[in-house]
């Protein structure tokens, strides 16, 4: 379970996040939706503890991301935007490296890594060095290593970027699997349809603020738009008008 409570973050003069609050419960998929530069990535980076909020707080299963960041990191698997691999290591070695760093038991590392490889359907290139892999292949491996330690909370920053239809579909199936396993999944996107196809709750942010935090039907209702894209645009404008 992820809780975000009024966080602010500035980079120099740019006030990227201005008081964002929302929650992402276990067993549900929560979408963080917003146009480019809305503050989605910054919010997620605060959650996986590489940034500290200027104000406000956030916690992962009760562990504060600032005061108890090591324990917060233990409970999350994060896929940052544009995550890179080690090109000289094979896919399997990339995943195993993270498994070891996460403190997995030596005896179970091989099995866990093999399990992730099967689950993400990357057997074909698991033992090749990742140099020259396609975007889709890289994303799958990045995801596998983020999930190898079985985290309760999964944070994905624009995971479908650069993926083709087939890869996107298999990613969706995986996210749904995680949901069924009772995990808390939080993922960001700037595509309304994609979020709508997966999420139980959607938090639309624009200009560093939360515009609407509701279910899909709730968003339709509150914006008065039946069409999802129109609803998205209307929600963004609601923030701009304030």
């Amino acid at each position: 379970m992820i809780k975000v409570d009024g966080i602010h973050k500035s980079f120099g003069k740019v006030h990227a996040v201005r008081g964002v609050s929302f929650g992402a419960p276990d067993g549900k998929i929560t979408g963080l939706l917003g146009p480019n530069g809305a503050g989605k990535s910054t919010t997620l980076r605060v959650l996986y503890t590489v940034l500290k909020p200027d104000q406000g707080s956030a916690s992962i299963d009760g562990s504060d991301v600032v005061t108890d960041s090591l324990s917060a990191r233990q409970k999350i698997g994060a896929l940052p935007h544009g995550a890179g691999l080690y090109p000289q290591l094979t896919a399997r070695e990339n995943i195993a490296y993270y498994a070891r760093l996460c403190g997995l038991d030596k005896s179970e590392i091989d099995d866990k890594v093999a399990g992730m490889i099967t689950m993400l359907e990357i057997e074909d290139f698991a033992d090749r060095r990742t140099k020259g892999f396609s975007q889709g292949q890289r994303t799958k491996i990045s995801l596998a290593r983020a999930l190898v330690h079985d985290p309760q909370n999964v944070i994905l920053d624009e995971p479908t970027n650069g993926l083709d239809v087939m890869a996107t579909r298999s990613l969706r199936r995986l996210i749904l699997k995680l949901k069924d396993a009772g995990r808390c999944v939080l993922f960001s996107s700037h595509v309304m349809q994609e979020v709508a196809a997966l999420c139980d709750d959607i938090c639309i942010i624009a200009n560093g603020q939360v515009a609407i935090d509701d279910s899909i039907d709730g968003i339709r209702e509150r914006t008065g738009q039946e069409d999802l894209e129109e609803a998205f645009v209307t929600a963004i404008q609601m923030v701009g008008d304030e």
Binding site: V50, L85, Y98
Partner: protein
């Protein structure tokens, strides 16, 4: 501890698999230095040997006018060969580079000698050509010697002791030992070692921050449940291992190169035996930590891999500065110098190669001060690895 070793072994594996990086780290540094060194030494040996021992060919026009002179020149290891046919051809032959030096003995040489008129010979050479300059110098010395011999004979014939022509006799006595002479030439080798050890770790040092960031692997790495201090320590440790390997290779390749170089012919016998190689390795070991920390620190402030490379090439040159200053001012080793990394190692290494007694206190100060500075900078690296700006 486990995190540290996990990072350490991964970095080792990663770096070993990167052939290009490995080649530049472990081959460029250690091999480049000794090869260049061998090249320079061989050239100076060639030149030194050329001057004294080798036979030089001297084209002479008009040999028949001075048979005694020709015999004298031959006795000084100068081969007389036929020059161009015409006397006027000498200038052209030297100008066009056909010959470096040509001696012309005019027809009246014999008569002039007999009449004790200064007998004229012409020596053509091109002073702008360094080879020609050397040969003409040798020919000139030989002619001077002949000149002195004739003068002595003439004076003796008139009943005067030839030594009146030599009021002063200068005896030069060189007090340097063969090992000491080599130190001058081998002084530059301590820099080759420092260069090689820095080269060995340069790519890993960049990779720790700028490289990981550029690849996009830094952010996921930092989101793992590990403390950043362990991550950076593991990386610096791996960097140190490659630096040590590079240092060892460079010491050994120097050792091999020196074995094959006829340094005795230059009057040098450097004390660079295998025990000295081992001692030099231990002496330079503290500098490895310092170098790794400095390179990692500098790279962490850069925005990209390229920028890091640019800055680190400055770091590669920095250790030469104190060595250069002390060499130019020709200062003797002093206690204060031992607090300066790179300089202290250089001075102690020179003493080792000169086979002079090593001051234990100097070694202790060098090792401890370099290690302390290295540890301090490693700590600074770990502190800086925690800041947000690291992500760029």
């Amino acid at each position: 501890m486990r995190t540290l070793f996990t990072v350490f072994f991964k970095e080792i594996l990663d770096n070993i698999r990167d052939r290009r990086t490995l080649a530049s780290a472990l081959i460029m540094g250690p091999i480049f230095g000794p090869v260049m060194f061998a090249f320079v030494i061989n050239m100076s040996i060639d030149r030194a040997l050329d001057d004294a021992e080798s036979t030089m060919e001297l084209p002479v026009i008009g040999q028949e006018h001075a048979p005694n002179l020709m015999r004298f020149l031959e006795s000084r290891n100068i081969d007389i060969v036929a020059g161009p046919d015409r006397a006027g051809g000498a200038q052209e032959a030297v100008k066009t580079g056909l010959h470096d030096v040509i001696l012309v003995v005019p027809e009246g040489f014999g008569e002039q000698l007999a009449d004790t008129i200064p007998a004229r010979v012409e020596l053509y050479s091109d002073e702008a050509n360094s080879q020609g300059e050397k040969e003409s110098r040798r020919a000139r010395y030989a002619l001077q010697a002949y000149n002195q011999q004739l003068a002595a004979i003439r004076i003796t014939a008139r009943g005067i002791n030839p030594s009146v022509l030599r009021p002063i006799n200068v005896d030069e006595i060189d007090v340097s030992t063969p090992s000491g002479r080599s130190a001058m030439l081998l002084g530059m080798m301590s820099y080759f070692f420092i260069f090689a050890l820095l080269m060995g770790g340069m790519y890993l040092a960049i990779d720790t921050t700028a490289g990981e960031r550029e690849r996009g692997s830094l952010e996921p790495l930092l989101s793992l449940p590990v403390t950043r201090g362990r991550l950076i320590l593991g990386k610096i440790l791996a960097t140190c291992v490659f630096m040590a390997a590079s240092l060892m290779l460079s010491l050994l390749s120097f050792y091999v190169v020196l074995e094959f170089m006829p340094l005795e012919q230059l009057g040098m016998t450097p004390n660079f035996t295998l025990p000295v190689v081992a001692a030099a390795f231990l002496l330079l070991l503290p500098f490895i930590l310092l170098g790794a920390a400095v390179m990692t620190l500098v790279a962490s402030f850069t925005k990209s891999y390229k920028e890091a490379q640019t800055w680190l090439s400055v770091v590669l040159v920095a250790p030469t500065l104190p060595i250069l200053i002390v060499s130019i001012l020709t200062l003797r080793p002093k206690l204060e110098f031992m607090f300066i990394p790179s300089l202290s190692q250089h001075l102690i290494l020179v003493d080792m190669v000169k086979n002079e007694p090593i001051n234990g206190l100097h070694v202790a100060i060098s090792v401890i001060s370099t290690l302390l500075l290295g540890a301090l900078l490693t700590w600074v690296c770990a502190r800086l690895y925690r800041r947000e700006g690291l992500l760029g």
